[in-house]
């Protein structure tokens, strides 16, 4: 009996080994990035990897941050991404709710039309969108960068699909009881959508954190520059060792990772992972 239990435990743990190896392989480039960010400049081009630096150079971080206005750039990115995340969470939920639970002529068509905006590549709408932003007087401003990113069609779709699954009976019952639409939204819909909201929040933050081409077009002053623009420009200056570029890359990775950790619990609600507790 005990031997069987031990064998059973062994098989479960041994199943972990190849999986862990696979996970490690996936994560290796991230480890490489981190390790390189602590190396001296010359190590970058020695082209043999020293996984644990023989000499640590944490000053890469300080140097990189002071050589270019990165604290400002990161702040700008943070403000823009937080706004975009908030905008998406609010408006995609509203629109998703409207499309899922309210039927009006052309609602299916409207969904298709909204989704079709995902199909056009960004590059060609850059100039006309810039013209719109320019007319609004939002060039070189936070609203200018965040504006066109505020609502993503994919987010609308995601919320619609999720809200669709909520039984309409609950909503009917609440309406009969006299609850207003916003109250219904707050007390019934939102709590059921935690997982979807977490997904929406994470990916809308990540996507706007990643943005390069759009800020490149709309920003021409350091005051509003976001970190990707700063990082590419930083790489253009030979006084900045590539290891410092890696340092900035590591710093850029942290906020998204942190957000992921914070939202993990809510994300898991979406998937029944109780099978893993074993």
């Amino acid at each position: 009996m005990r031997r069987r239990a031990r064998l059973h435990a062994l098989s479960r743990w041994s199943g972990l080994a190849p999986l862990a190896a696979l996970a490690f392989l996936f994560v290796l480039p991230i480890v490489w990035m981190t390790t390189t960010s602590f190396q001296a400049g010359e190590k970058m081009f020695q082209l043999t990897t020293e996984w644990i630096p023989s000499v640590w150079h944490p000053e890469n971080y300080g140097n990189a941050l002071s050589r270019s206005a990165f604290p400002r750039f990161f702040l700008n990115s943070a403000i823009v991404s937080a706004s975009v995340m908030l905008g998406n969470v609010v408006f995609c939920t509203l629109a998703g709710y409207g499309l899922a639970k309210f039927h009006f002529p052309g609602d299916r068509l409207l969904l298709l039309v909204i989704l079709s905006t995902l199909m056009l590549p960004l590059e060609v709408t850059l100039v006309p969108t810039f013209l719109v932003i320019h007319k609004l007087g939002w060039v070189n401003s936070y609203q200018g960068i965040a504006g066109p990113l505020l609502i993503d069609a994919f987010g609308v779709f995601l919320m619609r699909q999720f809200i669709l699954k909520i039984p309409s009976d609950y909503l009917e019952a609440a309406r009969i009881d006299g609850a207003g639409e916003l109250r219904i939204l707050r007390s019934i819909i939102l709590p059921q959508c935690k997982a979807a909201l977490a997904v929406l929040a994470l990916f809308s933050f990540r996507d706007s954190w990643d943005q390069f081409l759009w800020p490149l077009v709309v920003v021409s002053r350091d005051e509003f520059r976001t970190y990707p623009l700063g990082l590419v420009r930083f790489g253009d200056d030979y006084g900045n060792p590539p290891t410092e570029q890696m340092a900035i890359a590591v710093l850029a990775t942290l906020p998204v990772f942190l957000l992921f950790l914070v939202l993990q619990r809510a994300l898991r609600k979406g998937f029944d992972l109780s099978a893993f507790k074993g």
Partner: protein, 280 residues
């Protein structure tokens, strides 16, 4: 409905306005300094005759196909591997998921170093018997390199999607199949796969959609090279519009890309419209 109004307004101003303006532009010649001048279908004729456009089109289709196939296969494989009982599964899943949320610019910069002839990837493959692989300078390897990074970045996301799908299959089905004498392979083929069809379809179409719009990866890692080996349509649009200042022509190329993506998305729409009759 009032709830949808703000979204509709937003899309009109920031998406549809620019989109229609751009489509109209495809029938003009516009270098951004003088007002656009109508030229009818000339841009379309011109790009169809252009060998570089044809090459970029082929590259894009190859890229979409290659990425989608491997993202699906690897994503499914990872999901199946994770979907076993035991400790540490959740940690492994979270670790792999990190590749999906790492900033794309960091991804591009890091992989550009990893792909060097004497870089990390070759350091791993060397002992396995591969000769020197010029990932970014050999035209036969450059596109596979970009596809490799794409799979690395997106497979974990779809692993989670597949996993959610796998978890909706009641375990009783598997038990029943086992009692009936089906082995693991048969169980997978006749039980798992069919039940995963909707999810697989979702994965395939969304992966294709994402690949069609890829820009930063080839832009930063290979610059479209060597020659035109990794020049995809989105890069061609950017170059034509912003380096050569031919916005009308760029708009025409983007309409072609739009058409390709529309076909892919319509397929997705049909699937979802059908399956959701069950819900609302």
């Amino acid at each position: 409905m009032a709830f949808v109004m703000p979204t509709i307004l937003f899309f009109l101003v920031f998406k549809y306005g620019p989109m229609l303006w751009a489509m109209g532009l495809s029938f003009t010649t516009y270098d951004m300094m003088k007002p656009p001048r109508w030229v009818g279908l000339e841009n379309y004729e011109s790009i169809l005759r252009d060998p570089i456009f044809r090459e970029a089109l082929a590259n894009t289709l190859v890229y979409i196909a290659g990425s989608t196939i491997f993202i699906t296969l690897v994503g499914l494989g990872l999901a199946l591997a994770i979907n076993t009982r035991g400790p540490g599964r959740r940690a492994c899943m979270s670790a792999m998921f990190l590749t999906n949320i790492m900033p794309i610019l960091a991804v591009c910069l890091v992989w550009r170093f990893l792909f060097h002839p004497h870089g990390l990837l070759n350091q791993f493959l060397g002992p396995l018997g591969f000769g020197r692989l010029d990932w970014l300078t050999d035209s036969a390897l450059a596109m596979p390199a970009i596809i490799l990074v794409t799979v690395w970045r997106f497979a974990p996301y779809f692993m989670v999607v597949f996993l959610a799908g796998l978890l909706t299959i009641p375990p009783e089905y598997y038990e029943a199949a086992e009692i009936d004498g089906a082995n693991a392979v048969r169980r997978f083929r006749y039980l798992t796969l069919p039940l995963l069809m909707p999810v697989t379809f979702f994965v395939v179409v969304v992966a294709a959609l994402l690949s069609a719009r890829i820009f930063l990866m080839p832009f930063i890692i290979t610059g479209g090279g060597p020659g035109n080996a990794t020049r995809v349509l989105s890069m061609l649009i950017y170059e034509t519009g912003f380096s050569y200042m031919k916005m009308g022509r760029a708009a025409a190329i983007s309409v072609v890309l739009f058409a390709i993506v529309m076909v892919l998305t319509l397929a997705q729409m049909r699937l979802f419209m059908r399956s959701e009759e069950e819900y609302s």
